[in-house]
């Protein structure tokens, strides 16, 4: 057993646990996109950043790849961490504005503006599908290609791979594939409907009249959109 401090609390973790696993064990919420329990940690999305060490020497590390160690001091939700997470969400939304998961995160962290040119690539290069294909499906049909701004995930030579069995696991696990509530061709880059959870149907009824999965999450009944950035 390892003992360390997380958000001021003394916590215990098994040898070999990552900071993220320990935090989840204690019920602390750390957002992730490229992490999945069944796959090797990747540390690509940088959403699970936490601050370790004492200031001014504290540094940001990705908790999904950082092993818990004796005497570690972790803080999961500092201003610095949130600023970094907001920036990551903003950057990723610019890459894939059509993703519901990213839009939800934006509302959760109060990201109200996207200062980057939306690229509509609908892929954030989190590598979940690549790892899913290789580790769980034993397929190795897709992988990263090129580099820099041309980096992409595809099959060899962009044709159907012989290794691919069309199992669909890559689509199942993709965080960018679930379309946002207003559909793929939404007018705005940022949705932010969940920022103002004030459904108008409650003026007339006792219960929410929403039959969708996340009640009120569709944003159609929300009265006012927040003014961006102010």
């Amino acid at each position: 057993m390892i003992e360390f401090i997380m958000n001021g609390l003394k916590v215990r973790a098994e040898e070999g646990w990552t900071v993220l696993e320990a935090a989840r064990f204690y019920g602390l919420e750390i957002p992730t996109l490229c992490y999945n329990e069944g796959l090797t940690p990747w540390g690509g999305c940088r959403l699970c950043l936490v601050e370790i060490g004492e200031r001014p020497k504290a540094k940001l590390v990705s908790s999904c790849t950082y092993r818990a160690e004796e005497g570690l001091v972790v803080r999961t939700d500092t201003k610095r961490v949130w600023t970094a997470r907001r920036m990551m969400v903003e950057l990723m939304i610019a890459m894939a504005p059509g993703s519901k998961q990213l839009q939800d995160l934006a509302s959760q962290f109060g990201v109200t503006q996207v200062r980057f040119k939306p690229k509509n690539e609908e892929c954030i290069l989190c590598g979940l599908c690549v790892r899913m294909c290789a580790e769980q499906m034993d397929g190795r049909a897709i992988g990263f290609q090129n580099r820099g701004h041309k980096r992409k995930i595809s099959t060899p030579f962009d044709i159907r791979s012989e290794e691919c069995r069309l199992c669909g696991a890559c689509i199942y696990i993709c965080p960018a594939c679930q379309l946002r509530c207003q559909g793929p061709q939404a007018e705005t880059v940022l949705c932010n409907s969940c920022l103002t959870m004030d459904p108008s149907c409650l003026d007339h009824f006792d219960d929410l009249q929403c039959w969708m999965y996340d009640a009120g999450r569709c944003g159609t009944c929300v009265r006012e959109k927040p003014t961006a950035g102010k």
Binding site: R140, I142, G143, Q145, N146, T155, P156, E163
Partner: protein, 172 residues
């Protein structure tokens, strides 16, 4: 086809069939064929017992490798900071216009591959153009044709110079 497969297998054997020698193997194939033909990557994947996607990932990652056939001559135009402020990008434009290809592409006759490079480390003589390892110092739009002519003419005497000359004359 069959001989090609054997060629590649002998290259892999030369490198002891080790996965860590992948880059060396690909470089050898490239120096033999001038580029990396798609089927050769399949042979490498089979020979090294590695997923094809990993081989493709490496082959597309490095700029030293090309998956499309390259020209006889490689023309590098520096667009690094020092060469850029001295007009490197305009020289690139002129090359693109003269060769009728974009950067990273090969002319239709398969003679010249045009590429850009970020910095060659000899900024003092910039803007620099390198053709087949030969450095051309202080290149300018005016001597683009001269540089090209040096490499294109002797290779294909009958047809190609005629092709490039009419393109040259209205420019200069």
């Amino acid at each position: 086809m069959a001989s090609k497969k054997q060629d590649i297998q002998s290259i892999i054997r030369k490198h002891k069939g080790l996965k860590k020698n992948l880059i060396a193997i690909l470089l050898d194939i490239q120096s033999e064929h001038n580029y990396l033909p798609p089927e050769s990557l399949r042979y490498v994947a089979a020979g090294l017992d590695t997923p094809l996607i990993d081989i493709v990932g490496v082959a597309t990652f490095y700029r030293a490798f090309s998956l499309t056939p390259r020209g006889k001559h490689t023309c590098l135009v520096c667009t690094g900071t020092a060469c850029h402020v001295r007009g490197g990008s305009r020289i690139l434009d002129e090359f693109e216009r003269k060769l009728e290809v974009g950067s990273g592409q090969t002319t239709k006759d398969g003679q010249v591959t045009l590429e850009t490079v970020a910095c060659l480390g000899c900024c003092a003589i910039g803007p620099v153009v390198v053709v087949d390892g030969e450095y051309h110092r202080r290149a300018s739009i005016r001597n683009v044709g001269q540089i090209l002519g040096k490499y294109r003419k002797p290779e294909t005497p009958p047809a190609k110079p005629q092709k490039s000359r009419p393109a040259k004359s209205p420019a200069s």
